[in-house]
Symmetry: C2
Subunit: 243 residues, 2 copies
Protein backbone atom coordinates (compact mmCIF):
# COMPACT_ATOMS: atom_id res chain seq x y z
CA UNK A 1 0.00 0.00 0.00
CA UNK A 2 1.18 3.48 -0.78
CA UNK A 3 2.03 5.62 2.19
CA UNK A 4 -1.12 7.73 1.98
CA UNK A 5 -4.62 6.88 3.08
CA UNK A 6 -7.19 6.79 0.31
CA UNK A 7 -10.86 7.63 0.47
CA UNK A 8 -12.98 4.58 1.22
CA UNK A 9 -14.72 3.49 -2.03
CA UNK A 10 -18.44 2.75 -2.11
CA UNK A 11 -18.17 0.00 -4.71
CA UNK A 12 -15.51 -2.41 -5.91
CA UNK A 13 -15.45 -3.72 -9.47
CA UNK A 14 -13.41 -6.84 -10.15
CA UNK A 15 -11.55 -8.16 -13.08
CA UNK A 16 -12.43 -11.86 -13.14
CA UNK A 17 -10.14 -14.10 -15.27
CA UNK A 18 -6.96 -14.48 -13.23
CA UNK A 19 -8.07 -12.09 -10.49
CA UNK A 20 -11.05 -14.02 -9.07
CA UNK A 21 -10.68 -17.39 -10.76
CA UNK A 22 -7.78 -19.67 -11.69
CA UNK A 23 -8.47 -20.12 -15.40
CA UNK A 24 -5.27 -22.05 -16.17
CA UNK A 25 -5.78 -24.96 -13.78
CA UNK A 26 -9.47 -25.21 -14.61
CA UNK A 27 -9.08 -25.13 -18.39
CA UNK A 28 -6.15 -27.56 -18.32
CA UNK A 29 -8.22 -30.00 -16.26
CA UNK A 30 -11.21 -29.81 -18.63
CA UNK A 31 -9.13 -30.47 -21.74
CA UNK A 32 -7.28 -33.26 -19.93
CA UNK A 33 -10.53 -34.94 -18.88
CA UNK A 34 -11.82 -34.69 -22.43
CA UNK A 35 -8.56 -36.12 -23.77
CA UNK A 36 -8.80 -39.08 -21.41
CA UNK A 37 -12.33 -39.74 -22.62
CA UNK A 38 -11.67 -39.23 -26.32
CA UNK A 39 -8.17 -40.71 -26.49
CA UNK A 40 -5.91 -37.80 -27.29
CA UNK A 41 -2.88 -36.62 -25.37
CA UNK A 42 -1.30 -33.18 -25.53
CA UNK A 43 0.38 -30.72 -23.17
CA UNK A 44 -2.79 -29.69 -21.34
CA UNK A 45 -1.36 -26.56 -19.75
CA UNK A 46 0.18 -25.41 -23.02
CA UNK A 47 -3.22 -25.80 -24.67
CA UNK A 48 -4.81 -23.66 -21.93
CA UNK A 49 -2.06 -21.07 -22.28
CA UNK A 50 -2.47 -20.88 -26.04
CA UNK A 51 -6.24 -20.58 -25.74
CA UNK A 52 -5.78 -17.72 -23.30
CA UNK A 53 -3.06 -16.16 -25.45
CA UNK A 54 -5.55 -15.82 -28.30
CA UNK A 55 -7.86 -13.78 -26.10
CA UNK A 56 -6.27 -10.30 -26.14
CA UNK A 57 -5.52 -10.26 -29.89
CA UNK A 58 -9.06 -11.35 -30.71
CA UNK A 59 -10.54 -8.65 -28.47
CA UNK A 60 -8.23 -6.16 -30.11
CA UNK A 61 -9.72 -7.11 -33.48
CA UNK A 62 -13.13 -6.15 -32.07
CA UNK A 63 -11.74 -3.03 -30.41
CA UNK A 64 -10.16 -1.72 -33.60
CA UNK A 65 -13.18 -2.58 -35.76
CA UNK A 66 -11.74 -5.52 -37.74
CA UNK A 67 -14.47 -7.70 -36.23
CA UNK A 68 -18.02 -6.62 -35.36
CA UNK A 69 -19.05 -6.76 -31.70
CA UNK A 70 -19.15 -10.34 -30.49
CA UNK A 71 -19.04 -11.91 -27.05
CA UNK A 72 -16.10 -13.65 -25.43
CA UNK A 73 -18.00 -16.92 -25.86
CA UNK A 74 -17.88 -16.33 -29.62
CA UNK A 75 -14.22 -15.26 -29.59
CA UNK A 76 -13.26 -18.26 -27.45
CA UNK A 77 -14.93 -20.56 -29.96
CA UNK A 78 -13.03 -19.06 -32.91
CA UNK A 79 -9.72 -19.49 -31.06
CA UNK A 80 -10.64 -23.01 -29.95
CA UNK A 81 -11.40 -24.19 -33.49
CA UNK A 82 -7.99 -22.95 -34.65
CA UNK A 83 -6.30 -24.68 -31.74
CA UNK A 84 -8.07 -27.99 -32.33
CA UNK A 85 -6.81 -27.87 -35.92
CA UNK A 86 -3.29 -26.98 -34.83
CA UNK A 87 -3.22 -29.81 -32.28
CA UNK A 88 -4.82 -32.16 -34.84
CA UNK A 89 -7.67 -33.03 -32.49
CA UNK A 90 -10.35 -34.29 -34.85
CA UNK A 91 -12.33 -36.67 -32.67
CA UNK A 92 -14.66 -34.13 -31.04
CA UNK A 93 -18.29 -33.80 -32.00
CA UNK A 94 -19.75 -30.32 -32.52
CA UNK A 95 -21.56 -30.72 -29.20
CA UNK A 96 -18.31 -31.62 -27.42
CA UNK A 97 -16.56 -28.60 -28.92
CA UNK A 98 -19.34 -26.30 -27.74
CA UNK A 99 -19.28 -27.85 -24.28
CA UNK A 100 -15.50 -27.47 -24.10
CA UNK A 101 -15.85 -23.82 -25.13
CA UNK A 102 -18.04 -23.26 -22.11
CA UNK A 103 -15.22 -24.48 -19.83
CA UNK A 104 -14.68 -20.73 -19.35
CA UNK A 105 -18.00 -20.71 -17.46
CA UNK A 106 -16.66 -23.35 -15.06
CA UNK A 107 -13.50 -21.84 -13.59
CA UNK A 108 -12.50 -22.49 -9.99
CA UNK A 109 -12.16 -19.47 -7.71
CA UNK A 110 -8.81 -18.88 -6.02
CA UNK A 111 -8.82 -20.26 -2.47
CA UNK A 112 -9.54 -16.90 -0.84
CA UNK A 113 -12.04 -15.58 -3.38
CA UNK A 114 -15.37 -16.70 -1.90
CA UNK A 115 -14.44 -15.85 1.69
CA UNK A 116 -12.86 -12.56 0.68
CA UNK A 117 -15.79 -11.48 -1.50
CA UNK A 118 -18.22 -12.43 1.26
CA UNK A 119 -16.33 -10.17 3.68
CA UNK A 120 -16.10 -7.35 1.15
CA UNK A 121 -19.81 -7.62 0.35
CA UNK A 122 -20.63 -6.55 3.91
CA UNK A 123 -18.82 -3.25 3.39
CA UNK A 124 -19.10 -2.46 -0.30
CA UNK A 125 -21.14 -3.05 -3.42
CA UNK A 126 -19.17 -5.76 -5.21
CA UNK A 127 -19.45 -6.23 -8.95
CA UNK A 128 -17.70 -7.97 -11.77
CA UNK A 129 -16.18 -5.72 -14.42
CA UNK A 130 -15.00 -8.28 -16.89
CA UNK A 131 -14.69 -8.75 -20.62
CA UNK A 132 -16.59 -12.00 -20.07
CA UNK A 133 -20.19 -11.82 -21.22
CA UNK A 134 -23.06 -11.76 -18.74
CA UNK A 135 -24.06 -15.39 -19.29
CA UNK A 136 -20.49 -16.54 -18.70
CA UNK A 137 -20.21 -14.50 -15.50
CA UNK A 138 -23.58 -15.66 -14.16
CA UNK A 139 -22.79 -19.30 -14.84
CA UNK A 140 -19.35 -18.91 -13.27
CA UNK A 141 -20.87 -17.30 -10.18
CA UNK A 142 -23.33 -20.20 -9.81
CA UNK A 143 -20.52 -22.72 -10.36
CA UNK A 144 -18.12 -21.12 -7.87
CA UNK A 145 -20.60 -19.58 -5.40
CA UNK A 146 -19.28 -16.08 -6.04
CA UNK A 147 -21.60 -13.71 -4.12
CA UNK A 148 -21.71 -10.73 -6.53
CA UNK A 149 -24.17 -7.93 -5.88
CA UNK A 150 -24.38 -7.24 -9.59
CA UNK A 151 -22.82 -8.48 -12.83
CA UNK A 152 -21.30 -5.74 -14.98
CA UNK A 153 -19.48 -6.55 -18.19
CA UNK A 154 -17.99 -5.01 -21.28
CA UNK A 155 -20.93 -6.65 -23.04
CA UNK A 156 -23.22 -3.93 -21.67
CA UNK A 157 -21.30 -1.31 -23.64
CA UNK A 158 -20.26 -3.43 -26.64
CA UNK A 159 -16.69 -2.54 -25.73
CA UNK A 160 -13.79 -4.45 -24.24
CA UNK A 161 -11.42 -3.29 -21.51
CA UNK A 162 -9.24 -1.27 -21.65
CA UNK A 163 -11.67 0.88 -23.67
CA UNK A 164 -12.80 3.80 -21.46
CA UNK A 165 -16.50 3.06 -22.09
CA UNK A 166 -16.32 -0.06 -19.94
CA UNK A 167 -14.95 1.69 -16.86
CA UNK A 168 -17.19 4.72 -17.27
CA UNK A 169 -20.32 2.55 -17.52
CA UNK A 170 -19.88 1.44 -13.88
CA UNK A 171 -20.59 4.90 -12.61
CA UNK A 172 -23.83 5.18 -14.58
CA UNK A 173 -25.07 1.70 -13.73
CA UNK A 174 -24.20 1.91 -10.04
CA UNK A 175 -25.24 5.54 -9.63
CA UNK A 176 -21.94 6.24 -7.89
CA UNK A 177 -19.34 8.86 -8.90
CA UNK A 178 -16.45 7.11 -10.61
CA UNK A 179 -14.00 8.47 -8.01
CA UNK A 180 -15.82 6.37 -5.41
CA UNK A 181 -15.45 3.11 -7.33
CA UNK A 182 -12.33 0.97 -7.01
CA UNK A 183 -11.10 -1.34 -9.75
CA UNK A 184 -9.60 -4.57 -8.41
CA UNK A 185 -7.36 -6.57 -10.73
CA UNK A 186 -4.26 -8.73 -10.91
CA UNK A 187 -3.20 -6.99 -14.12
CA UNK A 188 -1.53 -3.61 -14.25
CA UNK A 189 -2.83 -2.61 -17.69
CA UNK A 190 -6.41 -2.92 -16.40
CA UNK A 191 -5.60 -0.73 -13.40
CA UNK A 192 -3.77 1.86 -15.48
CA UNK A 193 -6.83 2.25 -17.71
CA UNK A 194 -9.22 2.35 -14.75
CA UNK A 195 -7.15 5.02 -13.01
CA UNK A 196 -7.04 7.14 -16.15
CA UNK A 197 -10.87 7.22 -16.06
CA UNK A 198 -10.89 8.37 -12.45
CA UNK A 199 -11.30 5.13 -10.51
CA UNK A 200 -9.19 4.19 -7.52
CA UNK A 201 -7.28 0.94 -7.93
CA UNK A 202 -6.27 -2.15 -5.98
CA UNK A 203 -3.65 -4.55 -7.30
CA UNK A 204 -4.10 -8.11 -6.07
CA UNK A 205 -1.14 -10.44 -6.46
CA UNK A 206 -1.94 -13.71 -8.18
CA UNK A 207 1.55 -15.16 -8.68
CA UNK A 208 0.24 -18.56 -9.81
CA UNK A 209 -1.98 -17.28 -12.63
CA UNK A 210 0.46 -18.47 -15.27
CA UNK A 211 1.66 -21.62 -13.52
CA UNK A 212 5.24 -21.02 -12.50
CA UNK A 213 5.45 -18.23 -9.95
CA UNK A 214 5.59 -14.84 -11.57
CA UNK A 215 5.25 -11.92 -9.28
CA UNK A 216 5.42 -8.26 -10.11
CA UNK A 217 4.72 -6.53 -6.82
CA UNK A 218 6.31 -3.20 -7.73
CA UNK A 219 4.18 -0.18 -6.85
CA UNK A 220 3.03 2.13 -9.65
CA UNK A 221 1.68 5.65 -9.57
CA UNK A 222 -1.66 4.33 -10.87
CA UNK A 223 -2.02 1.79 -8.03
CA UNK A 224 -3.57 2.98 -4.76
CA UNK A 225 -3.37 -0.25 -2.82
CA UNK A 226 -1.62 -3.61 -3.14
CA UNK A 227 -3.12 -6.71 -1.53
CA UNK A 228 -1.95 -10.30 -1.31
CA UNK A 229 -5.50 -11.65 -1.69
CA UNK A 230 -9.15 -10.59 -1.17
CA UNK A 231 -9.06 -11.15 2.58
CA UNK A 232 -6.05 -8.86 2.81
CA UNK A 233 -7.88 -6.40 0.53
CA UNK A 234 -10.85 -6.30 2.90
CA UNK A 235 -8.55 -5.79 5.87
CA UNK A 236 -6.70 -2.93 4.22
CA UNK A 237 -9.85 -1.27 2.89
CA UNK A 238 -11.56 -1.32 6.26
CA UNK A 239 -8.45 -0.28 8.19
CA UNK A 240 -6.49 2.17 6.10
CA UNK A 241 -9.12 4.17 4.26
CA UNK A 242 -10.77 7.47 5.19
CA UNK A 243 -14.54 7.72 5.14
Amino acid sequence: MNNHNIKKPRALTFDVFGTVVDWRTSISREIQELGAKKGFFIDWSAFADEWRAGYAPSMDRVRNGQLPWMTIDSLHLIILRDLLEKYEITSLTEEEIKHLNLAWHRLDPWGDSVEGLTLLKRNFVISTLSNGNIALLVNMAKYGALPWDVILSGELTNHYKPDPEVYLSCSDYLGIPIEEIMMVAAHKNDLRAAKSQGMSTAYVLRPLEHGAITSDDRPEEFIDLIASDFIDLNYKLTTFTDS
Copy 2:
Protein backbone atom coordinates in the same frame (compact mmCIF):
# COMPACT_ATOMS: atom_id res chain seq x y z
CA MET B 1 -51.82 -23.94 -11.62
CA ASN B 2 -53.14 -25.06 -14.97
CA ASN B 3 -53.86 -28.74 -15.32
CA HIS B 4 -50.85 -29.44 -17.51
CA ASN B 5 -47.24 -29.83 -16.52
CA ILE B 6 -44.89 -27.29 -17.98
CA LYS B 7 -41.25 -27.68 -18.89
CA LYS B 8 -38.96 -26.76 -16.03
CA PRO B 9 -37.41 -23.34 -16.76
CA ARG B 10 -33.65 -22.74 -16.43
CA ALA B 11 -34.00 -19.16 -15.26
CA LEU B 12 -36.64 -17.06 -13.54
CA THR B 13 -36.89 -13.31 -14.09
CA PHE B 14 -38.83 -11.30 -11.54
CA ASP B 15 -40.83 -8.16 -11.66
CA VAL B 16 -39.80 -6.29 -8.53
CA PHE B 17 -42.13 -3.44 -7.42
CA GLY B 18 -45.14 -5.17 -5.87
CA THR B 19 -43.94 -8.67 -6.74
CA VAL B 20 -40.79 -8.86 -4.58
CA VAL B 21 -41.14 -5.76 -2.40
CA ASP B 22 -43.98 -3.96 -0.65
CA TRP B 23 -43.53 -0.49 -2.09
CA ARG B 24 -46.69 0.99 -0.54
CA THR B 25 -45.90 0.32 3.12
CA SER B 26 -42.26 1.33 2.66
CA ILE B 27 -42.93 4.58 0.80
CA SER B 28 -45.74 5.58 3.19
CA ARG B 29 -43.41 5.04 6.14
CA GLU B 30 -40.63 7.16 4.64
CA ILE B 31 -42.88 10.10 3.87
CA GLN B 32 -44.48 9.79 7.30
CA GLU B 33 -41.10 9.82 9.04
CA LEU B 34 -40.06 12.84 7.02
CA GLY B 35 -43.34 14.59 7.87
CA ALA B 36 -42.80 13.96 11.57
CA LYS B 37 -39.34 15.48 11.30
CA LYS B 38 -40.27 18.44 9.13
CA GLY B 39 -43.71 19.17 10.58
CA PHE B 40 -46.16 18.36 7.82
CA PHE B 41 -49.09 16.00 7.96
CA ILE B 42 -50.82 14.40 4.97
CA ASP B 43 -52.45 11.08 4.08
CA TRP B 44 -49.19 9.12 3.82
CA SER B 45 -50.65 6.15 1.95
CA ALA B 46 -52.46 8.40 -0.51
CA PHE B 47 -49.17 10.17 -1.21
CA ALA B 48 -47.50 6.80 -1.87
CA ASP B 49 -50.37 5.73 -4.11
CA GLU B 50 -50.22 8.94 -6.12
CA TRP B 51 -46.46 8.67 -6.51
CA ARG B 52 -46.88 5.16 -7.79
CA ALA B 53 -49.81 6.17 -9.99
CA GLY B 54 -47.56 8.59 -11.84
CA TYR B 55 -45.18 5.79 -12.74
CA ALA B 56 -46.91 4.07 -15.68
CA PRO B 57 -47.94 7.31 -17.47
CA SER B 58 -44.41 8.70 -17.16
CA MET B 59 -42.88 5.50 -18.54
CA ASP B 60 -45.41 5.63 -21.36
CA ARG B 61 -44.13 9.09 -22.26
CA VAL B 62 -40.66 7.54 -22.65
CA ARG B 63 -42.05 4.52 -24.48
CA ASN B 64 -43.90 6.62 -27.05
CA GLY B 65 -41.01 9.03 -27.54
CA GLN B 66 -42.46 12.13 -25.82
CA LEU B 67 -39.54 11.96 -23.40
CA PRO B 68 -35.98 10.82 -24.16
CA TRP B 69 -34.70 7.75 -22.34
CA MET B 70 -34.37 8.41 -18.65
CA THR B 71 -34.18 6.17 -15.64
CA ILE B 72 -36.92 5.47 -13.12
CA ASP B 73 -34.92 7.51 -10.61
CA SER B 74 -35.32 10.51 -12.91
CA LEU B 75 -39.01 9.82 -13.57
CA HIS B 76 -39.70 9.35 -9.85
CA LEU B 77 -38.11 12.73 -9.17
CA ILE B 78 -40.28 14.49 -11.76
CA ILE B 79 -43.42 12.95 -10.25
CA LEU B 80 -42.25 13.73 -6.71
CA ARG B 81 -41.70 17.42 -7.44
CA ASP B 82 -45.23 17.68 -8.84
CA LEU B 83 -46.64 15.93 -5.79
CA LEU B 84 -44.77 18.11 -3.32
CA GLU B 85 -46.27 21.12 -5.06
CA LYS B 86 -49.75 19.62 -5.05
CA TYR B 87 -49.52 18.75 -1.34
CA GLU B 88 -48.00 22.16 -0.64
CA ILE B 89 -44.96 20.65 1.04
CA THR B 90 -42.40 23.44 0.80
CA SER B 91 -40.18 22.77 3.80
CA LEU B 92 -37.86 20.21 2.20
CA THR B 93 -34.32 21.04 1.18
CA GLU B 94 -33.04 19.87 -2.20
CA GLU B 95 -31.00 17.24 -0.38
CA GLU B 96 -34.07 15.98 1.48
CA ILE B 97 -36.06 15.78 -1.75
CA LYS B 98 -33.31 13.74 -3.41
CA HIS B 99 -33.06 11.47 -0.38
CA LEU B 100 -36.83 10.97 -0.35
CA ASN B 101 -36.71 10.13 -4.06
CA LEU B 102 -34.34 7.28 -3.26
CA ALA B 103 -36.94 5.78 -0.90
CA TRP B 104 -37.62 3.51 -3.90
CA HIS B 105 -34.16 2.00 -3.26
CA ARG B 106 -35.22 1.13 0.31
CA LEU B 107 -38.32 -1.02 -0.09
CA ASP B 108 -39.05 -3.90 2.28
CA PRO B 109 -39.35 -7.36 0.76
CA TRP B 110 -42.60 -9.26 1.29
CA GLY B 111 -42.29 -11.69 4.21
CA ASP B 112 -41.61 -14.72 2.00
CA SER B 113 -39.34 -13.03 -0.55
CA VAL B 114 -35.87 -13.66 0.89
CA GLU B 115 -36.59 -17.24 1.95
CA GLY B 116 -38.37 -18.00 -1.31
CA LEU B 117 -35.65 -16.51 -3.51
CA THR B 118 -32.99 -18.36 -1.52
CA LEU B 119 -34.79 -21.65 -2.21
CA LEU B 120 -35.34 -20.81 -5.87
CA LYS B 121 -31.68 -19.83 -6.29
CA ARG B 122 -30.67 -23.43 -5.56
CA ASN B 123 -32.63 -24.64 -8.56
CA PHE B 124 -32.64 -21.79 -11.05
CA VAL B 125 -30.81 -18.70 -12.18
CA ILE B 126 -32.79 -15.89 -10.54
CA SER B 127 -32.76 -12.38 -11.95
CA THR B 128 -34.62 -9.14 -11.64
CA LEU B 129 -36.42 -7.99 -14.78
CA SER B 130 -37.65 -4.63 -13.65
CA ASN B 131 -38.21 -1.16 -14.99
CA GLY B 132 -36.14 0.01 -12.03
CA ASN B 133 -32.63 1.07 -12.99
CA ILE B 134 -29.59 -1.01 -12.07
CA ALA B 135 -28.49 1.28 -9.21
CA LEU B 136 -31.96 1.16 -7.68
CA LEU B 137 -32.10 -2.63 -7.91
CA VAL B 138 -28.60 -3.09 -6.49
CA ASN B 139 -29.27 -0.79 -3.57
CA MET B 140 -32.61 -2.48 -2.93
CA ALA B 141 -30.95 -5.90 -2.95
CA LYS B 142 -28.35 -4.71 -0.42
CA TYR B 143 -31.07 -3.14 1.73
CA GLY B 144 -33.36 -6.18 1.69
CA ALA B 145 -30.77 -8.98 1.36
CA LEU B 146 -32.29 -10.17 -1.92
CA PRO B 147 -29.95 -12.90 -3.23
CA TRP B 148 -30.13 -12.24 -6.99
CA ASP B 149 -27.76 -14.06 -9.31
CA VAL B 150 -27.86 -11.14 -11.72
CA ILE B 151 -29.58 -7.77 -12.08
CA LEU B 152 -31.36 -7.28 -15.40
CA SER B 153 -33.36 -4.15 -16.10
CA GLY B 154 -35.13 -2.26 -18.82
CA GLU B 155 -32.25 0.20 -18.45
CA LEU B 156 -29.98 -2.23 -20.33
CA THR B 157 -32.16 -1.85 -23.43
CA ASN B 158 -33.30 1.77 -22.93
CA HIS B 159 -36.84 0.40 -23.02
CA TYR B 160 -39.53 -0.11 -20.43
CA LYS B 161 -41.72 -3.15 -19.97
CA PRO B 162 -44.02 -4.09 -21.63
CA ASP B 163 -41.82 -3.27 -24.66
CA PRO B 164 -40.67 -6.56 -26.25
CA GLU B 165 -37.01 -5.51 -26.16
CA VAL B 166 -36.89 -5.89 -22.40
CA TYR B 167 -38.12 -9.49 -22.35
CA LEU B 168 -36.04 -10.51 -25.36
CA SER B 169 -32.86 -9.11 -23.79
CA CYS B 170 -32.99 -11.77 -21.05
CA SER B 171 -32.35 -14.51 -23.52
CA ASP B 172 -29.27 -12.79 -24.94
CA TYR B 173 -27.81 -11.80 -21.58
CA LEU B 174 -28.42 -15.16 -19.93
CA GLY B 175 -27.53 -17.24 -22.98
CA ILE B 176 -30.73 -19.24 -22.52
CA PRO B 177 -33.50 -19.74 -25.10
CA ILE B 178 -36.42 -17.51 -24.19
CA GLU B 179 -38.74 -20.53 -23.95
CA GLU B 180 -36.66 -21.72 -20.99
CA ILE B 181 -37.02 -18.48 -19.03
CA MET B 182 -40.03 -17.85 -16.79
CA MET B 183 -41.33 -14.39 -16.01
CA VAL B 184 -42.61 -14.06 -12.42
CA ALA B 185 -44.91 -11.16 -11.63
CA ALA B 186 -47.92 -10.09 -9.60
CA HIS B 187 -49.28 -8.16 -12.59
CA LYS B 188 -51.09 -9.75 -15.49
CA ASN B 189 -50.07 -7.17 -18.11
CA ASP B 190 -46.41 -8.01 -17.48
CA LEU B 191 -47.09 -11.72 -17.89
CA ARG B 192 -49.18 -11.23 -21.01
CA ALA B 193 -46.31 -9.34 -22.65
CA ALA B 194 -43.70 -11.89 -21.49
CA LYS B 195 -45.77 -14.78 -22.85
CA SER B 196 -46.20 -13.07 -26.21
CA GLN B 197 -42.37 -13.02 -26.51
CA GLY B 198 -42.14 -16.75 -25.77
CA MET B 199 -41.46 -16.85 -22.03
CA SER B 200 -43.33 -19.08 -19.63
CA THR B 201 -45.12 -17.25 -16.84
CA ALA B 202 -45.85 -17.49 -13.13
CA TYR B 203 -48.45 -15.30 -11.48
CA VAL B 204 -47.76 -14.61 -7.81
CA LEU B 205 -50.64 -13.27 -5.75
CA ARG B 206 -49.82 -10.13 -3.77
CA PRO B 207 -53.27 -9.16 -2.49
CA LEU B 208 -51.90 -6.45 -0.16
CA GLU B 209 -49.93 -4.55 -2.79
CA HIS B 210 -52.50 -1.75 -2.85
CA GLY B 211 -53.42 -1.80 0.84
CA ALA B 212 -56.97 -3.13 1.09
CA ILE B 213 -57.11 -6.70 -0.13
CA THR B 214 -57.51 -6.93 -3.86
CA SER B 215 -57.13 -10.33 -5.35
CA ASP B 216 -57.52 -11.39 -8.95
CA ASP B 217 -56.68 -15.06 -8.91
CA ARG B 218 -58.44 -15.96 -12.14
CA PRO B 219 -56.40 -18.10 -14.51
CA GLU B 220 -55.56 -16.72 -17.96
CA GLU B 221 -54.37 -18.43 -21.11
CA PHE B 222 -51.06 -16.54 -20.81
CA ILE B 223 -50.40 -17.77 -17.26
CA ASP B 224 -48.67 -21.14 -16.84
CA LEU B 225 -48.59 -21.29 -13.06
CA ILE B 226 -50.22 -19.44 -10.16
CA ALA B 227 -48.49 -19.31 -6.78
CA SER B 228 -49.49 -17.81 -3.44
CA ASP B 229 -45.90 -16.67 -2.72
CA PHE B 230 -42.28 -17.49 -3.66
CA ILE B 231 -42.09 -20.51 -1.35
CA ASP B 232 -45.16 -21.94 -3.03
CA LEU B 233 -43.61 -21.06 -6.41
CA ASN B 234 -40.47 -23.04 -5.56
CA TYR B 235 -42.58 -25.99 -4.41
CA LYS B 236 -44.67 -26.00 -7.57
CA LEU B 237 -41.70 -25.51 -9.90
CA THR B 238 -39.75 -28.37 -8.36
CA THR B 239 -42.76 -30.69 -8.11
CA PHE B 240 -44.97 -30.12 -11.11
CA THR B 241 -42.56 -29.38 -13.95
CA ASP B 242 -41.00 -31.72 -16.49
CA SER B 243 -37.28 -31.67 -17.01
